[in-house]
Structures are given as structure tokens and as C-alpha cells.
Amino acid sequence: MIKKSIIERVLQKALSNGADFSELFLEDSISSTIQLLDSKIVKSINGNDYGAGIRVFYGHKAIYAFTNDVSEKGLLKAAEAVNKAQIGDKSLEIIDLTEILYDSPHKILIPFDSVPHQDKIALIHLIDSASRNFSAYISQVSINYLEKVQQVMIANSEGLFTQDQRTYARVYVSSIAHKDNQMQTGSEGPGALMGYEFINNLNPEELGRTTAERAVKMLLADYAPSGKFPIIIGNAFGGVIFHEACGHSLETTSVAKGASVFADKLETQIANSCLTAIDDGTIPNKWGSSTIDDEGSPTKRTVLIDKGVLKSFMIDKLGGIKIGIPSTGSGRRQSYKFAPTSRMRNTYIDTGTDTIDDMISSINYGIYAKKMGGGSVQPGTGDFNFSVGEGYLIENGKVSKPVRGATLIGNGRDILKKISMISNDLEMAEGMCGSQSGSIPTCVGQPTIKVDEIVVGGRKKNA
């Protein structure tokens, strides 16, 4: 993208006021979104994001600047801006850059621009009609199609110089069912680090139908009871609770500040011994994978919790300096407009040996949260609150009827100890995770799990 000699001059300039470290991140991204609403394509927009971010460290502090003037003059100006922030006590020379390119396990077969627009539009309409044909209760279907190719180049004063290309495809479908004044939504958002072959392999009829079916099922369901119950949380998107309530607390961003409840818990038992949790950026073509992270470190498979024992945090470069443990290749950012920080990739609870049937038959009265909805977590305390997207009542060891409006209320640290059964149906689901360094693609995942007791907030008085 730019000449090595220019990069070296920029890195040296950024370092020249006594900093410990300087880094240049260059991005060239092409993205395109198509939106359908009211069965019409209402928006189609695409663009090219192009710019550079420069970061320097003074001890434990990072200073960041970005520009999309990537001429030598523009970059030197940004480098000068960051080195004015502070005067450090180092006088370092940058190490000569040697380019290293990693073999990517994420093969791309069909480039987006080789596929005619009509094919993409036809697929979007197929999903829409499958949803609307499912039921007359479906009053609106919103579909967003996204494709993106992100090209990055990363170099730093320690001699690192590398590149990566990430190709993303995703379709997000929301079907809305209406009856009287009631409204329920069913959503799915499959995506991958793949080219158009991912879209080709989707089943548009099934996507439309499953989202519509969930919306209608919940629209017609009775309200969930409230109280303390044993619950079963379904696989794939059910992992969102682990992601929000535990995952974020294992990022060095919160560990280094002492804001995490797990900060001093390495090598201690923090979960039931049946639980192993992993954050893996290496799974071929997974939505949250990449060959290298946004600091140029190769991504890794990081075992976070092994049989209930905390083994590792998710560590970026600066976080690693702060806590004295090397990076796990977890430094990520939305774009050149953000400084990187420690983030999740594909984070999941590993497969177990129990079966869903055994779990259900072990419960006298409880809730089966087959599909989770959105939620929030209090960062300091780990208290969470999640809605159930598709829920059922369990009575006398059997799934009885669908229930709606249930919310699961609990605490990240507590729930880890109360997970007592883990099934063998591990799956993952794609999402966008928002945090300090912007919105990035991540997967959540888990097999179906049983939690011995959790507070369910429903609309009905305890049955």
C-alpha cells in the first residue's frame, strides 16, 4: 500500500519524543449494504474506507491519531501530533522492517464482484416472501445484506511489518409479527469470513420461515412465569450470556484496570468442573476469525477456562504490558478510526457429554430458553439481564408450551458455578460486539446447557 521507507520514517517520527513504541495501521476497505423493507429494496449503498492510525506508547499509556491523508506528509503530520502529547524518557531507534506474510487458513472462493447484483436481490426477495408466506401475522420483514473486504497493513517500531485481507458476508433478517397491539420479532443473522460462497450455501426459504415461525410462536404464546427456576439455555446464540457476563471481564481492558471480578483469579476454580470455555480466532472462515489481529500478531486458540479453572485472559499488546503476560493475538478494532484493545473473537463454551433429553427430564418445573434475545450487563458487577427470544415451559420433565416475555436475571460469576450439565450440540452464532475499539464481528457459542437456578422475570405471578 505504501513504501517501506516512508513507513519507517513515520514510525521513527512518532517515536522521536521519547516514546517506547510506535505503530502504523493502514486500512483499505470496500463495503456494500442492501436493505429491504416493505418488500422493496429501499437502500443500496457502498463505499471505500481508507486511512491510517498511528499509535505510540509512553509506559502504560497509549496515544492515538488517525488520518486519511496517507501521503508521507499527511502521515508525518499525524506522527508529529502523537509525539507532541508527551515527552518520554526513551531514545529508541526503530528496528528495520522485514515483511512477514502468514498463510491464511481462511480461503475465499467467490469474490463478491463476480456475482451479478440481480442474484443478491433475488435472494433477498426469496427470504422476504418465505417469511410473509409463513403467516398472515407477519406485518414487516427487514433484511440487511452486507459484504465487506478489509485490507490491512500493520507495522511497528519493533520491526513488525505484515498484511492481511478479511472478507465478510452476512445477511440479517428480522420478521415482525403483529396481532392487535402486540408485536414480536424473530431474527437470524448468519455471517462468515467468506466470499459469496457463504451466501450461496444459505437456504433463503428456511431463513425466512424460521424467523417468521419464531415471531408468530411468541406472538401467540402465554406470558412466562416469574420466579427462581432451573433453566435450559439453547445452543449457539445462548452463548451470548457467557460473552457478555464473563467474556468481557476476561479482556485485559477490564482486567488491567482492576475492574474485573476475575482479575486475581488465574489458576483458580471459577466455574463448575464440567465447564471449559475457549476463545478461538483460528477457526477457518468463522465470522470472528482472522489470520492476524489488528496489531499484527497471529491469532490463537486461547483456552480461557479449563474444567472450571481460569487459565488465561484475552490479551492485546498494551494490556499485556500492563499485566505482564504476552499478547494472545486479541488486539482488535473496528477500523483505522479506533485504537485497538483486547477483544473477543469466537468465544464459546466447549462441548459436553450430556443430552438435551436428560436435561429436560431432570427438571420438574422450569424454562427452556431455546433462543436468547438481547440483554445488558453492568460492567463493574457482572449483573446481567437478558430477554428470551424463544422460550418454553418445562413441566414434569417435559417441554409443555411456548412462553413469551421471559427475562433471565443473574450474575456472571454466580452463573458459572451453577452450570451443571453441558450437552454435545455445540454451535456458534454471529454477532457484532461493541466496545471501546468499536463494533467488530464476533461469534458467541455453546452447546445446550442447564443452569440449576436462575431468576426469571416474567409477566405472570409465580405459578
Partner: protein
């Protein structure tokens, strides 16, 4: 600036047979430094540029953008916009004209701001924190002591020969501090905005912020009921910031505004005037034209209580058979929308003291929370957490907290019985004087 790039797009449009299009370019530089415990907590510098192309083919609009301005990237942006217009099903009439320019010479760029050394900005931010901490020993923490500035350049051209540009800049200072006494913690903030760095006075900003936190200490609870409510200028502006969308013609046309069908009607008390003025002297959003290149104007939205106009761009104006008010807004990445320029409630003649004495007792509100979750901008209903003062016989008696104020924005506007002269603008360029509302429901 950028004549070459715009020229090139014009040639390309001709080459590809595109007759209706416009090009929007923005270039902005921003800087901010935040101090925490005498050290730099965050330091941000950015210099970014982007160009958006809008192509109209048979009433269908296609958009694309690029942050790269070489010939090849510009051509692919244009071709993408054409491709996008060809797949969209949504039709809408779009006007592209060579609008006239305003005659006024606006004072919206101060070239002296460019030369302020970073060291001076850091020094000022450090002063912000120190002054607040030194003000009173009960000021225990200053989570935000911030100095920043930004500079923007805009250029718009269209297929009817329009080609205009302008630059604007400003700087600001912000102080947010916490006062603590016993178990009680209260916050106070103050911000200042100017085109002259010398106007950003840490002494004023931090003393004001500290004072505002301190005067809330010792707060008591208040009994639920209905009270006359005095919103100070900042909170009156916060209310207007929350509900300005009811004036957007786009929202009205989509049936999402409670002002639909109300043009010409009395909708507020007759002492209320609401104005959007893109030509306002010293306004943060003062500009010669909007994001379609339409010339700026002063628009009376409400005069003497009567709804006179909505905020329009040329697309909504065409649908309503009226003229644009110069309120088109976009970024190079987004589609065309509507935003206010400098929007404010016109100040009255009363002093704030006059307002205190209008009723034997009233509540003054100086802080509001829950603007997002507690306000329904479609129905106008709101319910927000509040803090302020219990006032009696024309003066503040004691601070109050832990209560909510609720009502309906339009109802509230009808019940305004007093307007002070103390107009203040927020960084959002939305402003208001202190206002006195006859009767609102409080739950404590």
C-alpha cells in the same frame, strides 16, 4: 480546494451519461485532550476526508462514498452509485438546482485557532482540573477535564452547475466534577464554546462546574404532586434537543410527529417563539448553505404560539409544495436527512429572579437523566429523573433529588408562563433561556 476532483467527476458523469447527480465532500480535523489526575488520560487527533456521490435516475437515488480521491476511486464511486440506483425500488422526486448564494459575510472561521500550540491546549486542560479541585475540598474528582477544537471544510456541487464551499472552526472546554460530603455525591458540569481560544477560560468553566455540584449537596426528597417547574436554560435546551424531531418535515410526512396537520394552529402559549437560524451571529452551526447547497435562512417555527413552519430539505419541501428551509443534512457516508442549524427558544425580557417569584413556591430543575429511555419522541411523552431546588418566596430554599418529572412536551409548551432573558446554547447548537412551566407532575 478539490476543484480537480470535482472537475473529474463532472467529466466522468458526462462520459457515463449521468444527467442528475450531486457530490458532497467534507474534510474535518478534530483534536481533544482529556486530563485525569494531572496526567493525559486521552489524546485524540484526527484528520479525515470523504466524498459522497448521489445519482438520480428516474426518481430513484443511488449513493456511494469513498475516502480515496484518486481518479480511479472516483470513477468506481460514480459507477457504484449508478449501480445502486438501478437496484433500488423506492421512488422519490429529487431536486437539484443551482441555488443562489446568501449576501451576508459570515464570521465562522478564525485562522488564529490553527496556530494554537498543542502544549497550550494541554496546559489549559490541566488548569481545568486543578481549578475545580482547588475550588473546594469537597470536590473530590474531576472525571472529565477536556479541551478540544475542530475545523471542517465542506464542498458541494451538482449537475445543475452548483459549486460551493465553506470552512468553519471552533474550540471548546468542558469540566465535569464530583462533589462529595459524607455518603452523598453530586455532579456538576459546565461547557464553553467559541471561535476564540482566549474565550475558553478554565477559571469560569471549572468554578461554574464545581459550584453546580456543590450547591446540590444536602439534597432532600420531595413529596409527589403537581408543581410549577422552572427549567434552567441548560435543561430547557436539553428538552428541546430531545424533542426537536417533531419539527422535521420528514418525520411529519412519515406520520411520526405529533405536529402533523397543525400548521397555522396555536400549539404553545403565545409567549413562545422557536427559531432555527443558520445565519445566527456566532452560532456553532452558522453556515452559508446546507448539505444540498441550499442557501441558509432564519426560519420561525413557532411565532407567538402559532406553528409557522417545519424544517425542510428540498425533497420534503417538494412533497409539501413549499420551499426548503435550508435544513438538509448528510454525511458523505449517509443519505439525505433533516437537522436543525442553530435552534432555540427566543429569550424573553424577565430575569430568572422574576421567574422564581411568579408563584409562592416552585421547583427548579437543573439536571435531567434518562432522555433516551424516558422520552417518546413520537407521542411527546416524557418521564425523566431530575435534580434541582425547592424554591419559595422567590428564592431557592434547599436542593432536592431522587424524583421524576413527567408530562408531554406539547402540553408543556402550552403551559410555559415565563421566559427569562438568559439564552444559552449547548454544544449541539440547540439553545434556550430558563422557562417556567405552570404545572407538571412530580413523583418523589
Amino acid at each position: 480546494m478539490f476543484e480537480k476532483e470535482f472537475q473529474h467527476i463532472q467529466e466522468l458523469a458526462k462520459k457515463h451519461g449521468i444527467q442528475h447527480y450531486d457530490v458532497y465532500l467534507s474534510k474535518s480535523k478534530a483534536f481533544s485532550v482529556k486530563i485525569f489526575r494531572r496526567d493525559i488520560d486521552s489524546f485524540n487527533y484526527s484528520d479525515s476526508i470523504g466524498l459522497g456521490i448521489r445519482v438520480v435516475l428516474d426518481d430513484i437515488t443511488g449513493y456511494s462514498y469513498t475516502e480515496k480521491l484518486d481518479r480511479e476511486s472516483l470513477e468506481s464511486a460514480l459507477l457504484n452509485a449508478i449501480k445502486n440506483a438501478k437496484i433500488v425500488d423506492f421512488k422519490e422526486k429529487v431536486v437539484l438546482e443551482n441555488y443562489p448564494s446568501i449576501n451576508e459575510d459570515l464570521d465562522i472561521y478564525n485562522k488564529d485557532l490553527l496556530g494554537i500550540p498543542v502544549e497550550d491546549k494541554i496546559k489549559k486542560a490541566k488548569e481545568l482540573e486543578k481549578i475545580a479541585l482547588d475550588y473546594d475540598k469537597r470536590i473530590v474528582n474531576v472525571p472529565h477535564a477536556l479541551i478540544g477544537d475542530n475545523e471542517s471544510f465542506f464542498k458541494i456541487a451538482n449537475s445543475s452547475g452548483l459549486n460551493k464551499e465553506y470552512s468553519t472552526n471552533a474550540c471548546y472546554g468542558f469540566s465535569f466534577c464530583l462533589a462529595k460530603e459524607g455518603e452523598e455525591t453530586k455532579s456538576g458540569y459546565f461547557e464553553a464554546l467559541s471561535r476564540d481560544f482566549n474565550d475558553i477560560k478554565p477559571q469560569n468553566i471549572s468554578n461554574e462546574a464545581a459550584q453546580k455540584a456543590l450547591e446540590l449537596l444536602g439534597a432532600r426528597e420531595i413529596k409527589s404532586g403537581n408543581y410549577p417547574i422552572l427549567f434552567n436554560n441548560e435543561m430547557a435546551a436539553t428538552l428541546l434537543s430531545t424533542f426537536w424531531r417533531i419539527f422535521s418535515a420528514k418525520i411529519v410526512q412519515e406520520g411520526q410527529s405529533l405536529l402533523k396537520g397543525q400548521l397555522g394552529n396555536n400549539i404553545t402559549h403565545s409567549i413562545v417563539n422557536i427559531i432555527d437560524d443558520a445565519l445566527l451571529n456566532n452560532g456553532y452551526n452558522t453556515r452559508p448553505f446546507d448539505d444540498e447547497g441550499y442557501p441558509s435562512q432564519k426560519t420561525e417555527l413557532i411565532s407567538d404560539g402559532v406553528l409557522q413552519s417545519f424544517l425542510h430539505n428540498t425533497i420534503t419541501a417538494l412533497k409539501d409544495d413549499t420551499n426548503s428551509t435550508g435544513n438538509a443534512s448528510r454525511s458523505y457516508k449517509s443519505t439525505i436527512n433533516i437537522s436543525p442549524s442553530n435552534l432555540y427558544i427566543k429569550p424573553g425580557l424577565s430575569s430568572k429572579n422574576d421567574l422564581y417569584s411568579k408563584f409562592p413556591k416552585c421547583l427548579e430543575i437543573v439536571q435531567l437523566s434518562g432522555m433516551h429511555s424516558g422520552c417518546n419522541t413520537i407521542s411527546g411523552d416524557f418521564s425523566m429523573g431530575a435534580q434541582g431546588f425547592y424554591c419559595e418566596n422567590g428564592q431557592r430554599k434547599y436542593p432536592i433529588h431522587n424524583f421524576t418529572v413527567s408530562g408531554n412536551f406539547l402540553q408543556l409548551m402550552k403551559q410555559i408562563v415565563g421566559i427569562a432573558a438568559d439564552l444559552k446554547f449547548k454544544l449541539s447548537a440547540i439553545g434556550a433561556p430558563s422557562i417556567l412551566v405552570e404545572d407538571l407532575s412530580i413523583s418523589g
